[in-house]
Amino acid sequence: MNNKMIWNIVGRVVRIEAILLLLPLITSIIYTENFSVLAFLITAVIAFILGGLLVFFTKTSNHIIYAREGFVIVALAWISMSIIGSLPFIISGKIPSFIDALFETVSGFTTTGASVVKDVTQLGYGLNLWRCFTHWIGGMGILVFVVAFISKTSDRSIHVLRAEMPGPIIDKITPRSKDTAKIPYLIYSGLTILLIVMLFLGKMPIYDSIVTALATAGTGGFGIYGDSVASFSSYSQWVIAIFMLLFGVNFNVYFLIAIGKFKSAFKSAELKVYILIFVSAVIVVLLNILKTCANFEEALRLSVFQVSSVMTTTGFSTADYNLWSEMAKSTLLMLMIIGGSAGSSAGGLKVSRVMLLFKKIGAEFKRIINPKRVNTIQLEGKRIDEASVSGVTSYFAIYVVLIAIIAFLLSIDGFSFETNLSASIACFNNIGPGFGAVGPIETYASFSPFSKIILMIAMLLGRLEIYPLLIALAPSTWLKK
């Protein structure tokens, strides 16, 4: 393994984090929050020195990395980013426990949005901005950012991109990795700015608009008020609901639209299925909650918002769906597992993976009935090779096993089965709120430190799509044989 190269890139990532910390620092200065100004300043200096030292001591001329190095780089970068990112919470004294602060940060970077803070308003402007900013950074991926804007061209940076970008098949859309990484970032930033403007036009204060937009873009879900976004005007709720849905679409679709290839953009089978799932879920939920709402507009708004929020794994809420009928809750649980599209900032299994899974099941039926029949699996008119298909099926198997193990480990704390399973699913799929004791108006504060560590691992496993973390933690990766 090319250890030097791995730590060199991790060092670069830490150094970038130091620069990113300047944004909440400036915010704290503007709002004269002395406790957080110092916390951000100290953290930024630590990160800059630590990152600088790492880069300095790992200078190497050997830039060759393979798939394994790509996975390890991504896993280590995310872990070190989370540790550094938790320091402002600890130093400012707002979240004194290290485990709690780390939980909050991991939840931020992985765009989960599960919180241990009971009253978020007491964090202040600076820390709240940092929480939501971590969503934005984690949504598109920090290493994608490094490849896009920082690193000198490396022939093999595709391995890093593949390890961090979500989805079953990651392919380049341009000859250069740099451009392939740059395009989604530009689309992401553009949509975020558009959202800020839209919210601001709806008479939302500028700070609230920015912070909410950051949390929406990363499909994260940290709110800055106790009741998530329920207190916002219905205009703002509609805007947020629609933008959540937009951020759950594969960004390649936007790229195709941007370069004028409308035909191929709307030919995307994943987009069609994504919208189909969304519309049918809204109808089911709408029919279930219609009786309990004051009028049709409210019922439609609540169901669209909740479905959009859960499906794109954002985790904002405008209603306590813990109180909804079992059928509406089951619908939401299914959406949690499916998640958004590949190549978006959303989490979950991803629509394209679910599609491949069903196609594989169909092919398997055909094979059982007629063993000699040749079955190929196609997606959007292209044949998917055997390796990708079996990659999806084994991913699903590990996914199910890990969710079961995590739910089992959570049961030590003695909460209900519903709480444990939904917490496991909500963290693994980066949604945030689940059902029962972790419902939309509750927090994760009541879990034991052990459970919080388990949930942090679940969030990282889910965001990085399992393999990077498992490979980085496997002893065989590090032992020389």
Binding site: D155, K172, P175
Partner: protein, 454 residues
Amino acid sequence: MDIIVAGCGKIGKSIIRSMLKENHNVTVIDIDRNVVASMTDTLDVLGIVGNCTSYDVLKDAGVKSADLFIAVTGVDELNMLSCYVAKKMGAKHTVARTRDYEYNRKSFDFVKDQLELSMTINPELMTAQFIFNLLKLPSATNVEMFSRNSFEVLELNVNKNSPLIGVPLLELRKKIPVNFIVFSVLRNGELTVPNGSFVLCESDKIGIIAQITQSHTLLKLLGFEQKQVKDVVLVGASKIAYYLSSLLIKSKNSVKIIEKDRQKCEDFATRLENVPTIICGDGTSHELLRENRITDASALVALTNSDEANILMSYYANSKGVGKVITKVNNKELGSISEELGVGSQISPKTIVANVLVRFARGLENVKGSKLETLYRLLGGKAEAVEFLILDDFKFKDVPIKNLRFNKNTLIAGIIRDRSCIIPCGEDVIKAGDHVIISTAGQSLYDIYDAILK
């Protein structure tokens, strides 16, 4: 520039690597899924799997906006057809590899024009011409020519008893009546651009620029033995051997060819008008080599398909005192081994082709003030010698060279004006219409302002 390369064979890969080094955006097409996967995993390219003559595949690869389309699959007809389709779809320039004898006659120009091909490349013919140039100046390991047969770049190994050793370059130039410039020195893998006080030592590799008419005398004065090549032995009756022997025979050398395969020997004999001596036998057999007194030849060129056999034969010939030994080596790893063994000049067709295409691609770049005409890379690709045509809008017309400021590692090695060659000194000026030769180490020149700063 956006470049598309169809076919990822030996030549294709070498072209792709060179184009990436030149900072072009490269898309590759190949029919084999695994080949494409290995390319996208190891190089920063976009890979498309499919038939390169298919409209849909070419569309996926972005042919419409491509600046250069290079077809180098194993089949000539496929290359020509895909270039034609690519051109019609909007590719600005197309290059096809055509290596069949039929497609390298004068009459092929008609087809070339009709297909609107910007260039055809024949790796075997290019290699043969390259070897032919090497044989003309046997003491150099690499010889390249600039336009109008004016200047020559030579790559030389400094031997043990050479008069070059131990004398500062400035004095050396005073001592020797012929004008020349040492523009780069490769010592222990490190490249330097020497100044006047630089002192050469044994086993340095140096790049020299001199006038063609004087290079023979220069080499003699510098203590390099100049034995005129008269009889050449070629081992392996390949396509390269065919083109090379016709060139050699035309310039009245005697050629002897050794080939194992009887059928190939006969094919070879029927294709050439003036049939050289063809011996059917194994080139690595000691008996055969002695029987035919190979060691008496003034040059041996090893061209079989086996790198190992080529290196072994060259090593043998070298130790027996054959004046000039040229070895074809395809495998880079083996190449560096034989380089260390020091078995004379080494050539690799894929590098020669890649260099030609790099030159072609640089010539396509839109530049002001000058136009790139020729480009040679030597000393393992680390140093470059480039010929620019100076255009009317050149900023420093008629400014004495001593008043110009140059980039650190560049030198003006020569100026060609009308038909005369000038090795410039401080008072000389550059005029529009001049051809200027600039040498550089460790960087790439795209236009003349990369070399002249002020």
